[in-house]
């Protein structure tokens, strides 16, 4: 029984500060003293130095991890799974900035929290000296001292009217040691497993055929159902138009400008199913529709210009009509471009 642990409870910060002064005079080092309270008293109040803090590496480390995660989502993932939307670049700036901000914030907070737990050695898994009256407002002073000094410390405690004095052999209080490491190791492993499973699925490391019912949806085409007659007061417009029941007229000549326009419009409106070359290559939606022709140029060669115009405007089978998206002039540009595919 070389060392004793002592715990005294005091009413007031003044008394506690006096006790600490006197205990220090007895030769007890500051590290051997712990002051406990239910109010965050600053160390200065008891004439002690505050503990050294290690939050900076944790918060900076957290921010770094957040930045790496954001980089992975915004730069690496789009490279792994290339998805071209319109003519935008794969990693557009505004969303990237937002994802970076949020993930850095999140991981900074997580880092600070983990730093808080680790610096305090939380959770405490071993028994420690404590008295429940500390949460009733009394201030506890825990002193670890060799036997002879401890007797003098007890006298100091008594002289300052300590409410309670506990004494116990210091050998009864073991440091947490390996148990703490094991606990955090288990938490970290569990967390890594929980994170890894969805990521493995997401990034196709483990491939699961997801259920996709897109091809089974009931689509109502624009060509179905009774078509409303134009209102009596509607005004006829100039240029190539589509009049119900009559073939479309006045195709545009396939000039270079028309083909160029047609290509851009085809990229926007058609390529997601047919592919840029009309061969379904690189067409994201087209993967789910086996009935899309493997060669659009060949299929189109069998149709007249007017028929092509009608298919584009009104749709066919599961292909939707594009009358809302393309005006008649633009539609003729697309017809020209589709014609150019088979050449």
């Amino acid at each position: 029984m070389a060392e004793l642990m002592l715990l005294g409870l005091f009413d007031n910060v003044e008394t506690t500060a006096d006790v600490l002064d006197e205990v220090r005079v007895l030769g007890v080092k500051d590290e051997q003293i712990t002051v406990m309270s239910n109010v965050p008293y600053a160390a200065k109040i008891f004439g002690r130095k505050p503990a050294r803090l290690w939050f900076l590496p944790f918060t900076l480390g957290g921010a770094g991890v957040g930045a790496l995660l954001a980089f992975f989502i915004t730069f690496v993932t789009p490279q792994l799974y290339r998805l071209h939307v319109g003519f935008q670049e794969l990693t557009p700036v505004p969303p990237t900035a937002i994802v970076f901000f949020e993930l850095i914030s999140l991981c900074t907070m997580l880092g600070a929290f983990i730093g808080f737990l680790l610096q305090n050695r939380f959770p405490i898994l071993t028994r420690r000296m404590y008295d429940e009256r500390i949460t009733e407002g009394y201030i506890g002073v825990e002193v670890r001292a060799p036997l002879g000094v401890a007797e003098q410390v007890v006298k100091v405690f008594e002289a300052h009217h300590a409410r309670v004095i506990q004494r116990e052999d210091a050998a009864n209080f073991k440091p947490q040691g390996i148990r703490h490491l094991l606990f955090w190791g288990a938490v970290a492993t569990g967390g890594a497993v929980v994170l890894a499973i969805p990521l493995l699925l997401t990034y196709d490391v483990v491939d699961i055929p997801w259920i996709n019912t897109m091809a089974d949806t009931v689509a109502v085409g624009a060509q179905e159902g009774p078509r409303l007659a134009a209102p009596a007061e509607s005004v006829p417009i100039q240029g190539p138009v589509l009049i119900a029941g009559e073939p479309a007229t006045k195709p545009l000549p396939a000039t270079a400008t028309s083909l160029e326009r047609g290509k851009a419009l085809f990229a926007i409106n058609c390529a997601m199913c047919h592919g840029m070359a009309g061969d379904r290559q690189g067409a994201e939606v087209g993967k789910y529709f086996p009935e899309i022709p493997a060669s659009l140029g060949e299929r189109a060669a069998a149709l007249s210009d007017q028929e092509l115009f009608l298919v584009i405007t009104k749709g066919k089978n599961r292909m939707p009509g594009l009358a809302e998206n393309l005006d008649p002039g633009e539609t003729w540009d697309v017809v020209n471009y589709v014609r150019s595919l088979s050449q």
Binding site: V13, F55, T135
Partner: protein, 485 residues
């Protein structure tokens, strides 16, 4: 060694001044200020713990009522899942209706919680002390319930995995160019951050509850307190980590409601496509959130008998806060409108249907609730310190802000760019049931939560009481607060 001062009793047993007038003033000050009215923590711990442990039949009646309404919400949702969104009043033009308005509303009331805790903490406002936890709890459950609404709204819940923010694996819709994805990241960050912030501040209170309860509660709180002893190093780190979390979470809080507003304003839709939408939504969220906190404060003060903790001074301070936010909200709303109005674009003029069209009654109701009621009343201290008056004002603001969201979402959509798409939206029974049911669900979760978690952060109150003293200035006694770092 310094000479010891004469004061030897604990801070809650300070001697009264001998002068009779000063003693009288001090007595009065104690009635008014929570932080001057120090009482033994042993007694106050029991006040808080008793409210958690003693549950009367009235509580269970309320729980049953809220539970029944929650059940109605779940049944309505189930019917909507098997029949499809067609049974709601949503249509092709108004494809976002009350569900999205509810999402905005619940995130909005969740805003004030963290703002009151984090911002007022950094600004060292003492009136936050007994309120902080009650407000943070609204954040927690408000966000959780807001998170339900995208799920309810998609209709086909089994396709929910489309929303998961890993961009391109399925090579289709979920890609991170979508404002919905930004919003989802922001809300997730905010929910996790708020939970951490709340949990850190809860640790000393869990330790308090651990020390003074028995049975399963003692085990539960013992585990949650993580071995807290209240050592000065632990306190020091707790203060620092709370400050770090506060500093990070305030910009995140702003980003959350800005993100929600971008869901709307990134679309070229008359009434939405406006640069001021972000800050306007943040102010609106704080406005409805602070009003929600006032309502909750009144309810827990009445039902849990927290008259000691929640005093007139707190309602007064929250009333002033609400008044400031009213003015800010009016300014932002006006600034948003005046640009459209002055521009006189035909498209934007469509939303002015609110002045005379079918939505006019709702529009004027919103102006009445959000502008007339608070401005006409909150300037008076007597109103701010009267609980029934504050309850009524709080409810008015909730109604006004809810109507505002419905007008923005459903109202704007019903007048879009193509006049042949114009429709008038009326909610059907599923939207109504789900909206009322989720409000009840929030109440249910909150009520059950108060059984398990100390809803007053007692250590913050003790800190204030231990650090506050009175000082004599001339013939008067005035409270002084001290900070030692």
């Amino acid at each position: 060694m310094l000479e010891s001062k004469a004061v030897t009793g604990p801070y809650w047993e300070q001697p009264d001044p001998e002068d009779e007038r000063l003693a009288y003033q001090l007595e009065h000050g104690r009635e008014e200020h929570l932080l001057l009215d120090a009482r033994p923590p042993a007694e106050l711990n029991q006040v808080v713990l008793n409210t958690m442990q003693q549950t009367g039949p009235r509580f269970w009646v309320i729980i049953a009522g809220l539970g029944a309404m929650t059940l109605a919400f779940l049944i309505a949702w189930f019917i909507q899942i098997i029949s499809g969104l067609g049974i709601t009043g949503l249509n092709r033009s108004v494809m976002w209706g009350p569900y999205i308005a509810n999402l905005i509303y619940f995130i909005g009331i969740g805003h004030a919680g963290t703002f009151i805790s984090a911002a007022l903490r950094l600004m060292r406002m003492d009136f936050r002390r007994p309120i902080a936890r009650a407000a943070e709890t609204i954040t927690l459950f408000g966000l959780a319930i807001a998170g339900l609404f995208p799920i309810i709204h998609v209709g086909s819940v089994w396709k929910l995995f489309y929303m998961i923010p890993i961009p391109n694996q399925r090579e289709l819709w979920p890609n991170f160019r979508s404002a919905l994805f930004w919003d989802m990241t922001a809300i997730t960050t905010y929910l996790i951050g708020s939970t951490l912030f709340m949990f850190v501040a809860l640790i000393p209170d869990f330790a308090m509850a651990r020390d003074h309860t028995t049975g399963w509660r003692r085990k539960l709180y013992g585990a949650l307190a993580l071995g807290w002893r209240g050592a000065e190093d632990e306190w020091h780190r707790l203060e620092v980590v709370s400050n770090i979390l506060s500093f990070v979470i305030i910009p995140v809080m702003f980003s959350v409601h800005t993100g929600v507003s971008w869901n709307l304003s990134m679309a070229i839709q008359p009434g939405w496509h406006s640069a001021i939408f972000g800050p306007f939504f943040v102010v609106g969220a704080l406005y409805s959130g602070v009003a929600a906190v006032i309502i909750v404060m009144i309810i827990i003060r009445k039902t849990l008998r927290f008259g000691y903790f929640l005093r007139e001074e707190h309602f007064n301070a929250m009333g002033i806060f609400l008044l400031l936010l009213t003015l800010a909200w009016i300014y932002f709303y006006f600034a948003e409108w005046i640009t459209n109005w002055y521009g006189n674009l035909p498209m934007e003029k469509a939303i002015q249907q609110m002045l005379t069209g079918p939505l006019a009654p709702l529009f004027y109701l919103m102006l009445f609730c959000n502008i007339v009621v608070p401005l006409a009343t909150l300037w008076s201290r007597r109103v701010r310190t009267s609980l029934p008056a504050m309850l009524v004002i709080g409810i008015f603001v909730q109604i006004g802000m809810y109507v505002e969201r419905v007008l923005i979402v459903a109202g704007s959509l019903s007048r879009n760019e193509l006049p042949f798409n114009w429709v008038n939206y009326t909610p059907h029974w599923p939207e109504v049931t789900v909206t009322i049911g989720t409000l009840a669900f929030l109440g249910l979760l909150y009520a059950l939560f108060t059984r398990v978690v100390p809803i007053i952060p007692v250590w913050e109150v003790y800190e204030g009481q231990a650090m506050q003293q009175v000082r004599r200035i001339g013939r008067a006694i005035a409270p002084t607060r001290t900070e030692v770092h």
